[in-house]
Symmetry: none
Subunit: 403 residues, 2 copies
């Protein structure tokens, strides 16, 4: 899709807003209605009546997307082609930045005795204690040779490390096995490169493990680390290269700013919730072409199985919708990155409802904004990666293909 | 799709039933209603109202599938990628088993005079006489060198042969031209291998032709055979490898058991119709994860142009539906392998209606089980190969893709 679009891009002054209610799609609860159908959403419903509506499938039918694949697809990057490594997602989620000079790694604190792993999770060491350990490691280790080492504390025994090399890494640099033996009673593995490009990284990782073991040797809670999910930056065109759009990510959660940064969006730190996000949108409205606004809590309530909470959060978004519409964006897409039905308490494979507001849609096909009403909409059920082309087309940013 | 799924499979105790009404889809008859719309199907209609509904396309829009491609697609194997040779389908249809050690061949009895084919079909020799000839051949020929030779009588001048080698054959072993010259007045061709792997097979085929000619030389109805559609086993992952499902095929017709066996399903012989199929389902319900139940007659009536007969057979299935539902399968899919509209008296290209019963669907979009009502369903119109992923997802058997 991006290859098709690339040569058709034209620039203009149009504004595109992509409002993502994380985990938006749902399933019927006790009374036969979904969260969206239960929520009182007069503004969304009115907008859906005059918008183009449909449902989108992030990865493939039946496949439940993680947050990374879900967002990449919304941004028009095929998540089957561009896979973000576990280490990178972990690092992004803990607020680290990842660049093309970097290798990101998920780490566990562990207990090793006589060279044998006794506890792969160091007794699920409490988060405050784990945090202290990680801060100590950062104090003592800043560099290994010419490689910057950046630590980020996580929950319990987990943390993340980014190895930042002086120059951009070659593809294949992250091809290193986990050092976690997966079972207690075995020795920790050494980091073994499976490509020539990864050899240098593996050596740095080996030195890192030795240094950490030296620092932790007198600790009783954890005296070793296990490394998993070595990952390099996926090779992707930037959002601006792909679409000619200067983009701002408005997202209070580090993970989603991180995914946006992976494709070069500007994603400044942001505290707060809907009000602060609206403020940021207004303040920056003249300076960008594209705005990705992320609302996390819809998904969080879904994951908790809190049907009413999820419906209520959707109502909160409905309340602020008039303020977004006041800005008169040329294209406004409202949707989710995947479904998170409260009855499943998890992400799910179900197609995600969306509406696209633009002067150039049919409209009049859906009576409300919901899974079932969007099913009647003019877009039908489409792959999520197609949304960006529809956004660009409706913003007058795509030339004719062929003569 | 199978590649995407492979790494996401998890196992649990869920049960999936795939009920295939062969040739289910239809077209309006005299009164403007299809066979499904004409049939009185209170149970299917009620189930459709609470199920996810849609239509599926086995091969591609406008393409009429044979039974092999139709079923492979239902089982999640792309029929454009995995093509089953004509020889194999013929052998399966006549009740032979085909393994990876085998070459299957369609054969015709013929009359040859002075080295020239006088009749390619031996006067469409009556089936009972043809059967006697084939049994005689089997009595006289059991082996050629170390290759087992298995004959199966067919209709009129047709029969099938399986050459069973002592070990698994290499890809390309079946690449041998037909010996049928396609026109009377020409010489029969010799079997010529078009790959090195097929050379050995071609030699065995040559010996087979000579032996048969020797045995038939005193017969007046047929004195020669023509070989067509040399085929080897397609290289496919087994159903269990692909999905982690232990599967039972409940199918009274050999052809469909044969297709199921090709992908390693257990497919024991079964006599009877719906009642016997239900008995088998109940008896085996605890021993398998996945049940493929095949109802042939819906298609047969369609092929005969018997609109009322087809509608009536659908009603018979509707009658037994409560007994299937009593087993409380986690996922129940009811559909066909292709459409067979009575007005066309043949398979057709029309999308096939389906319903998927599961706790995790929206439902409420279709008022009955029919081509037109399924069009309103939540799944839209999808490729048939996607059904297996939906079945697995709804059975809780697929992990999340990416983090």
């Amino acid at each position: 899709m991006q290859n098709l679009i690339k040569n058709l891009i034209v620039k203009n002054n149009s504004k595109i807003i992509l409002l993502v209610l994380d985990g938006l799609g749902g399933l019927p609860g006790e009374h036969g209605k979904t969260e969206l159908e239960t929520a009182d959403t007069p503004n969304l419903d009115t907008l859906a009546q005059s918008s183009g509506c449909g449902l989108h499938i992030p990865v493939a039918p039946g496949i439940t997307p993680g947050s990374g694949p879900g967002h990449l697809a919304l941004f028009g990057y095929d998540p089957k082609e561009f896979q973000i490594g576990r280490g990178i997602l972990e690092a992004l989620g803990l607020g680290l930045e990842v660049k093309n000079t970097d290798i990101a790694i998920r780490c566990n604190y562990a207990i090793v005795e006589n060279g044998i792993v006794k506890d792969r999770r160091a007794g699920r060491i409490p988060t405050p204690e784990s945090k202290k350990l990680t801060e100590k490691l950062q104090q003592e280790i800043n560099k290994i040779d010419d490689v910057e080492v950046i630590f980020a504390p996580g929950m319990e025994h987990r943390f993340a490390v980014v190895l930042r090399f002086p120059e951009a890494l070659e593809p294949g640099s992250g091809a290193i096995n986990d050092t976690d033996p997966q079972k207690e009673g075995k020795s920790p593995l050494t980091p073994v490169p499976s490509t020539p490009q990864a050899e240098r990284v593996a050596k740095v990782a080996e030195k890192l493990i030795a240094k950490v073991a030296e620092i932790l040797k007198s600790e009783n809670k954890a005296n070793f680390i296990l490394l998993r999910g070595f990952s390099e930056m996926p090779r992707m065109p930037s959002f601006e290269e792909a679409y000619g759009l200067k983009a701002l990510a408005i997202a209070p959660y580090p993970m989603y700013r991180g995914v946006a940064k992976l494709i070069g969006m500007h994603a400044p730190d942001l505290k707060g919730d809907l009000k602060e996000e609206l403020d940021s949108l207004r303040e920056n409205y003249d300076s960008y072409d594209f705005f990705f606004i992320h609302v996390k809590k819809v998904d969080s309530f879904g994951e908790d199985g809190n049907f009413e909470g999820k419906a209520h959060k959707i109502e909160e978004v409905d309340n602020i919708l008039p303020e977004i519409l006041e800005l008169k964006p040329d294209v406004l897409i409202i949707t989710g990155d995947h479904s998170t039905p409260s009855v499943l308490k998890s992400h799910s494979w179900h197609p995600v409802p969306f509406l696209l507001k633009s002067p150039y849609v049919l409209g009049g096909l859906s009576s409300a904004f919901s899974e079932r009403e969007c099913r009647k909409g003019e877009f039908g059920i489409i792959p999520t990666v197609n949304l960006m082309a529809l956004a660009l087309a409706n913003a007058g940013r795509l030339k004719k293909f062929g003569a």
